[in-house]
Amino acid sequence: MELQIVRIFAFLLTMALMSAVRADDISAAIDVLRAVRPGAADSAAARNAVQEVTTGGSQALLPLLHGFRDATPLSVNWLRNAFEQMADAETKAGRQLPQSELEAFVADQSQSPFARRLVYETLKRTDPGIENRLIPDMLLDASPEFRRDAVALLMTEASHLQDAAIATPLYRKAFSGAVHEDQVKTIAEALRKHNEEVDIQKHFGFLSQWSIVGPFDNKEEKGFAMAYGPELEVNASLDLNLQAEYDGQSAKVRWQSISTTDDYGVVDIAKQIENYKGSLMYATTTWTSNKEQQVEIRLGTPNSWKLWVNGQLVFEREEYHRSSQLDQYRVPVNLRAGSNTLLLKICQNSQTQDWAQRYQYQIRICNSTGSALLPSSSTARSEIGSGVRQ
């Protein structure tokens, strides 16, 4: 009898140890997928790791999903391919995925939005009711896709209401979570129809107050690579001198204030100043952050441009008149606590076609979901003399 108990104990211990070893293998394989670098040098190791994880079956499912957190987009793609293979295998084997654990995972906003959305869509295929259980609470979710769904539910509900007094608060609520242009536009139209004030510019976090100087020469598009006065100051690690006078394209030029009331923050140089052909302008503003933080600067323009933040060139793009869209470019930057200075170089070429006459830009600051970040002080402005050298 004692011998039998010992044997059972030994068996259970072996199983537990094997399980622990297996869990270690899965964890190591997930680490491999999280460490995949750009290029393809890690592909063979990643393929092996996917195989390791997928043979782990349901035991590997949640560790795999937790592995999405803070993973690079490249790693996310390896991780989600492993998940899809596992989900396919479980379905083919006639086994159900652990529904309640996975639903709890979807609701956990500390997890990766990519992983949560992947699981949500997998569950929804066999359980459409998950939408009503989860989406209404996702209006301010970290995932833009969940937000979009939550906003859409509210918009649908509001659109069916005849009584503006009841519909308006629903639209207001939907507006608070909306991060996509089409939804914002539709909600704003509905609210304005009921004489409600809507500040789209603030909602998106557009920068509307600027100082601007120019035109400088950009004939034959040579100005993009040339550094004029403000750029020379930045290159020399100096603060911008907004009292300076520079040699412009055809005359001396000085900084002037420019602002926009456009809903979508468009600063229209061609209309508000002049469409100087073959020219470039520099525009600057400041943005006060209450802490060090990573943000996205999102820019839309049909013109070539360079952008500096606190004296550092963060991106440059030499492309003319290939369209202008909201959030056309997304530039992740680190802001410091306090005042941050943006300097934009915006270039117009000499094309004569009708579709090549726009000279404009729109810039906003937001988080990675596209939700606006506002400066810590509502009085923060780029007014000449604010945060720059006199």
């Binding site: 592909s43 793609n77 989600r80 492309e319 003319y320």
Partner: protein, 402 residues
């Protein structure tokens, strides 16, 4: 006997499996829109729609066919940042798998385009899905990720705000991609198995939506890949990336070069035909400004060169002289490139109307039409007696009913 067996083994090793029945890339296996050996239905009707399969999101990419699988890419999501590679059973239209990825590069495009604009390619064992975001994804035929190249993040300025459309081609063990824009341009050869860059060359910095083509091997020269741009046409060794010759008289940036029987027909000043000669030279055969393609790439078959303009006028020219022989006005606007099989041309307009045209020496005759009632912007594929074409929402199989 021994040498015959050796020959067969070598031939089996160098020739891709079941190549004749496949449609492996944009404009087919030879990247020239010719469905060699295929007999497709010529009397199109509702009865010839074998099935239509639902697709997610959007897509301008054409279908490719490997064995009994038809593959198509798609992009979905508000920002077109979700990338799909889908496998569908050719016999039933049943979806076998849909592998989804997130884009690592820029996804915004002109409204008419979308992220899934380039057509996929295959070496028969793997598929390569390329997107406007410059993500190149390699999967095996079961949908298992083999490698992933995010050129959009590796080269963040190599993008076009209107969208990118160049489709990759496969030559031997190399998949060639052309990534050209106003801000940054390159072409590279990627090892099909490992995904590692074998070679990379700088390309003209200018927006370019054309796709590479293939110049088949001759006794004197191994196969070359042809890269077109506003500057002209460059022939590149797909193994080393070295430039073999240059045609520098300019070319279109939308319709792509095509090759038939050694003649290279370039969308350049209308159409220009050249023929490669010895010692990396070429001779110009003719130029014709009266045969000028719009978005669709030219097609050459049976001694005729065809160019379709965006307004639906099909022009036919003599491949020997470039003389325009006839024109045929079709209906609607066209974005897709026609294909040719068993002596007929198959053309799809943007409204979803399919036209089967029998080209004669002196005229083109519309043999039949079929209204698919959905917007068609892709170039079709053909394999095993069937024609495959996709809208945003559906993939259609068109074949004779047996």
């Amino acid at each position: 006997m021994k040498w015959i067996i050796t020959f067969l083994i070598v031939a089996a090793g160098t020739c891709p499996l079941s190549l004749a029945a496949d449609w492996r890339q944009f404009r087919g296996n030879a990247a020239n829109s010719v469905a060699t050996g295929e007999t497709l239905p010529t009397e199109l009707s509702g009865d010839t729609i074998a099935w239509k399969a639902r697709l997610p999101g959007r897509g301008l990419s054409g279908p490719i066919v490997i064995g009994e699988q038809v593959f198509v890419s798609a992009s979905s999501g508000y920002a077109q940042d979700r990338l799909h590679v889908i496998s569908i059973d050719t016999a039933t239209g049943t979806q076998q798998w849909d592998r989804e990825f997130i884009a690592t590069g820029r996804t915004l495009t002109h409204d008419k385009m979308c992220n899934a604009t380039p057509t996929m390619a295959s070496d028969g064992e793997r598929v390569f899905a390329f997107f406007s975001s410059n993500d190149l994804i390699c999967l095996d035929l079961a949908g298992n990720l083999q490698w992933f190249r995010g050129f959009g993040s590796e080269f963040p300025n190599a993008s076009n705000s209107l969208g990118m459309s160049s489709s990759p081609v496969v030559l031997g063990h190399t998949v060639v991609v052309q990534v050209e824009s106003d801000a940054e341009s390159f072409a590279c050869g990627i090892d099909v198995e490992s995904g590692v860059t074998i070679w990379q060359i700088d390309r003209p910095r200018a927006a370019n939506w054309t796709s590479p083509a293939i110049l088949p091997a001759t006794d004197q020269q191994s196969a070359l890949v042809l890269l077109q741009s506003s500057k002209g046409l460059t022939a590149v060794d797909p193994v080393s990336g070295s430039i073999v010759w240059n045609f520098d008289q300019g070319a279109s940036t939308i319709p792509s070069v095509t090759v038939d029987s050694g003649s290279i027909v370039i969308p350049s000043n209308g159409l220009t035909a050249i023929r490669p000669g010895k010692d990396n030279t070429f001779e110009q055969l003719w130029n014709s400004s009266s045969i000028s393609p719009g978005t669709s790439s030219p097609v050459v078959v049976d001694g005729l060169a065809f160019a379709l303009n965006s307004a639906g006028v099909l022009s036919a020219g003599d491949i020997k002289t470039g003389e325009r022989l006839w024109q045929l006005r079709l209906r609607g606007s066209f974005s897709s490139t026609p294909i040719t099989a068993n002596g007929y041309l198959y053309l799809f307009n943007e409204d979803g109307n399919a036209f089967v045209v029998k080209p004669e020496k002196d005229q083109g005759i519309i043999v039949s039409e079929l209204d698919l009632a959905e917007k068609i912007l892709c170039s079709p594929g053909a394999a095993n007696g069937a024609l495959y074409v996709r809208s945003d929402a559906h993939l259609f199989k068109i074949a004779e009913r047996h």
